[in-house]
């Protein structure tokens, strides 16, 4: 392809909510924009106006732009056109969609992270409705879910989604590419209120330091104040050995996740349903996380039709001490929530403990007891967390105290 033509985006029968743009810089003739869209009757003029605005923003005077549109939302169109422009010219400035007020939230260090929904970073149709399924977090994935030749354009899309797409309160996470390459992804994330960065194939504290250094650099330059949490993913034998070092590498590491596909490959074995081959790694990871006082997150379950298999896997994972799991399909979210959540016995026990604690407090007693047993403060704390999770997931009414 000649160096003055760039093609970006997706098209085809099955593509929805996306577009494919072909930009050719020309010597003369002004801006010739040809939108072909299945929503042309309703949004043809909007598409044209936006395309012109983006090109003019980058001072492009003469170009031919064709847009094969499958119902892309504005932030997607803008990301595609900008990526095409930047393939052809170098420009510092960015064409940013508005940061919607709904996205201006910070997340708490120890917030619930039972479910995190992976969303391929170059597939807008899967992003748009992700939030309505209410996962605890969404992961815009720039790493394995994006083909190598699409990584460039995906960054623009992910940046625009962080600014403009409402995820309805889910923690907005991005999985960057492996360090050091992934450090460059941060330019597209840090200024746009990303809540958490997943650092894949992490094998040392040094990699975490590098990520934090770059975050600090960008934050200083642009005056970003928000804290950005890190979730390193442990996916190799070396990573497992160094789990504690990584977990304690920095203040903003809030969790470790384990990635078993790569780990088992690294061991030279196969991943099985029983998971014997990863048993040590999973235990090691939980122990490292608990020692560091952070959350432990399990690997995804890849058969989206096998809900019973997923349930069994979760029960084993929960028994090992894991707090949550990644998911690759919205249908997994409920199963993950229901099964990581405390079961009925756990909730009943927690209710008793919290009641006893509250009674003791009301009476001004320093010691909490249940029957003949003394209850230690960490037990009370865990019971409160159990209650909070049960309420959040809908297993327990908000007004449980008034109910029998």
């Amino acid at each position: 392809m000649s160096s003055n033509i760039a093609q970006v985006g997706n098209k085809g029968e099955r593509v929805r909510s996306d577009c494919f743009v072909t930009l050719e810089l020309t010597e003369s003739g002004g801006l010739v924009i040809q939108p072909e869209s299945k929503v042309k009757a309703l949004f043809g003029k909007d598409i044209l106006r936006l395309a012109r605005e983006v090109l003019e923003f980058f001072d492009i005077r003469h170009a031919r732009l064709t847009i094969e549109d499958s119902g892309a939302l504005s932030f997607v169109l803008a990301a595609r056109i900008e990526a095409a422009v930047k393939r052809l010219i170098s420009a510092e400035k960015e064409f940013l969609p508005a940061m919607i007020p709904e996205n201006e939230y910070q997340t708490a260090r120890d917030r619930q992270r039972i479910s995190r929904l992976y969303l391929p970073g170059n597939t807008p149709s899967l992003m748009i409705n992700a939030g309505i399924h209410h996962p605890d977090g969404i992961i815009l994935d720039l790493e394995d879910a994006v083909a190598p030749d699409r990584k460039y354009e995906a960054r623009f899309l992910v940046r625009n989604a962080l600014r403009h797409l409402n995820f309805y309160g889910a923690e907005r996470m991005v999985r960057i590419n492996q360090v050091p390459k992934g450090l460059d992804d941060l330019e597209f994330l840090v200024p746009h209120n990303v809540n958490l960065i997943l650092v894949p194939k992490c094998e040392s504290a040094e990699q975490i330091h590098q990520v934090n250094e770059r975050i600090l650099q960008i934050s200083k330059r642009l005056g970003v104040k928000a804290s950005i949490w890190l979730m390193p993913i442990i996916e190799s034998a070396l990573g497992v050995v160094k789990a504690y070092e990584i977990a304690t590498a920095a203040e903003n590491v809030v969790s470790l996740a384990i990635g078993l596909e790569d780990y088992t490959a690294d061991l030279g074995t196969r991943r099985t349903v029983e998971g014997t081959e990863s048993f040590f790694a999973r235990c090691q990871l939980v122990v490292a996380c608990r020692a560091a006082g952070i959350q432990a997150i399990d690997s995804v379950f890849s058969d989206v039709d096998d809900m019973e298999g997923l349930r069994q896997t979760i029960l084993r994972s929960k028994a090992l001490g894991y707090d949550g799991m990644g998911c690759i399909h919205p249908r997994q979210i409920r199963v993950i929530h229901e099964n990581y959540a405390p079961d009925r016995d756990e909730i009943e026990k927690a209710k008793k403990i919290v009641r006893a604690f509250e009674e003791a407090e009301a009476k001004g007693l320093g010691v909490v007891s249940l029957g003949s047993k003394m209850i230690d403060p960490p037990v009370v704390k865990r019971a409160m967390k159990t209650i909070a999770t049960a309420v959040k997931i809908g297993k327990l009414s908000q007004n449980w105290r008034e109910e029998a």
Binding site: K40, F43, L73
Partner: protein, 520 residues
């Protein structure tokens, strides 16, 4: 003859022609406002003296039968759509007509499908003047672009029965393709390679047409039992090799949705029905054939099982899921208008609690009541809804005619009508200021369920009251519209031509809206 004439504004504020294809029309007057007078239409009196005493009405070919029925220019030919996209007979009728040089026919199907696209050539060459019936896919596009010689007329299933019964449409020749028939003309849909369950959509045609032909590929000796169509109405019978393609008759449109977004909408709908007290012991429901509606049925089944309750009756289109509910005794009866899969066909054949119905029993507005208004809750689709809950089911927002009405209008009379729909499709918001084509008045539409919120019609104060403490996201329809436009942008109005290409009838035969030509 002009396609249409004398534009007037009807009670819904829509501009409609008072003359359509040369016949004068009553503009829509409001729900229940138009009161018909006079007597029903009737076919000519026949005598046994003209029919073989041995009951053998077989003629060698469909062509012979059509010639003997006196096929000539300007006639109205009717067919039914129980074979859906697997119909092999309708196209043959017009091949024969074309071959005989007959012109200006009106095709009066109970619905058309993409398999009927070959008829476009006969619409172009004048063999067929127009279609009065649903126009899907390629035929809808052809009509939308103003290329049909006559004006299209869209009716609901009940409206089609009403039009025939009231004499609004006179059928000259009805061709009833049947999976099973005897030489006398008794016919049913439960047996044979093309089994489709029942033949209810052909009932009016058999009763009111001047001439009736039954075509089958499974000829059995008299009597063909059950006789869903009575041979006493039939003039000629024809044996052919195949009447339909089985795998297209029981089409793949009836799978439960795998889309997580649609499953969410289905679940919200089911929870709404539960919280509003609609799902209770002895209730009744109708859910359509779409993937979302099917999933709602499954949620209902779970709920009934959990609480040890059962539905008194369930309205089909039936499919394996509904049949399973019947067989599990989660519902006592299926009152079925069409069967969508082989389990539906089998159940109808074997289970006396799986009852075949017709547009007469379930939908006809000019009768002494019908089932539709007795159903507790009906789940329907729509292409668009406006801020007054008016809904469109025939055109897309770009103006193209792409769907039929089916039983949709008739079902609106149920005690609670719920439309579960995505807030936007691709970039197109579903809730508009005004629908492109009005098919159902908002006063009959009670609840809109989208993935981002549920809107209850302000007229349903009872439902609003019941849901006031619900944990479901209850919003106003205006809020939903704003939310969609925030995501998609504000859509322009489609730039449609003034020319009218089709009219939409209300259930009582009045004209509720016009479909405009799409500029190409």
């Amino acid at each position: 003859m002009k396609k249409y004439d004398q534009l007037v504004t009807n009670a819904a504020g829509r501009i409609v022609p008072a003359i359509v294809n040369g016949k004068s029309q009553t503009p829509y007057m409001g729900i229940g406002k138009f009161r018909p007078t006079g007597n029903k239409a009737a076919p000519p009196i026949a005598t046994c003296a003209d029919y073989p005493a041995d009951g053998n009405k077989l003629v060698p070919t469909l062509r012979d039968a059509l010639i003997r029925c006196g096929l000539r220019n300007g006639m109205t030919i009717s067919t039914h759509h129980h074979f859906r996209d697997g119909d092999l007979i309708a196209n043959q009728i017009f091949d024969i007509a074309h071959d005989l040089g007959v012109k200006d026919l009106m095709w009066f199907p109970s619905a058309s499908f993409p398999c009927h696209a070959p008829l476009i050539k006969y619409l172009e060459d004048g063999t067929i003047n127009r279609i009065e019936g649903s126009m899907n896919g390629p035929l809808g596009k052809f009509c939308s672009e103003g290329r049909m010689k006559g004006l299209g007329v869209l009716r609901s299933h009940g409206g089609r029965y009403q039009a025939v019964q009231d004499g609004d449409v006179h059928i000259d020749i009805a061709v009833i393709a049947a999976p099973s028939a005897d030489p006398f003309g008794n016919a049913n849909g439960v047996d044979g390679q093309a089994a489709c369950g029942l033949l209810g959509f052909a009932l009016a045609d058999s009763q009111y047409a001047d001439k009736v032909i039954v075509v089958t590929d499974n000829l059995v000796p008299f009597p063909c039992i059950p006789w869903q169509i009575h041979g006493n109405y039939v003039d000629y019978t024809v044996k052919v090799d195949r009447v339909g393609i089985p795998e297209k008759i029981v089409s793949g449109t009836t799978q439960i949705t795998r889309s997580p977004d649609r499953l969410l909408i289905a679940e919200m709908t089911a929870r709404f029905c539960e919280q509003a007290g609609i799902v209770r012991d002895g209730f009744s429901f109708q859910a359509g054939a779409g993937g979302t509606a099917l999933s709602i049925g499954i949620y209902f089944a779970d709920l009934l099982r959990e609480r040890n309750m059962k539905a008194r009756f369930m309205r089909g289109g039936s499919n394996k899921y509904l049949v399973k509910m019947l067989e599990e005794n989660l519902g006592e009866y299926i009152l079925d208008g069409q069967t969508f899969d082989l389990d539906g066909v089998r159940s109808m054949r074997e289970n006396p609690h799986h009852v075949n119905t017709s547009p007469f029993t379930s939908y006809n507005y000019h009768g002494k009541g019908n089932f539709a208004s007795m159903v507790d809750v009906v789940i329907l689709g729509a292409t668009e809804v406006d801020v007054n809950f008016n809904a469109n089911v025939v055109t897309h927002s770009d103006g193209y005619l792409l769907h039929g009405i089916g039983g949709w209008q008739n079902c609106l009379f149920s005690k609670c009508t719920i439309l579960p729909i995505p807030l936007f499709r691709d970039r197109i918001p579903v809730i508009r200021d005004e629908v492109t084509t009005l098919c159902g008045p908002g006063e009959l539409i009670d609840v809109i369920v989208t993935e981002r919120g549920i809107a209850i019609n302000p007229k349903r104060e009872d439902l609003i009251e019941k849901m006031k403490d619900s944990d479901l996201p209850i919003k106003t329809i205006g809020q939903l519209k704003d939310e969609a436009e925030k995501i998609c942008g504000v859509p322009a109005r489609p730039d449609l031509d003034d020319e009218i290409v089709a009219v939409v009838k209300w259930v009582d035969g009045t004209v509720i809206d016009s479909v405009r030509k799409v500029r190409t």
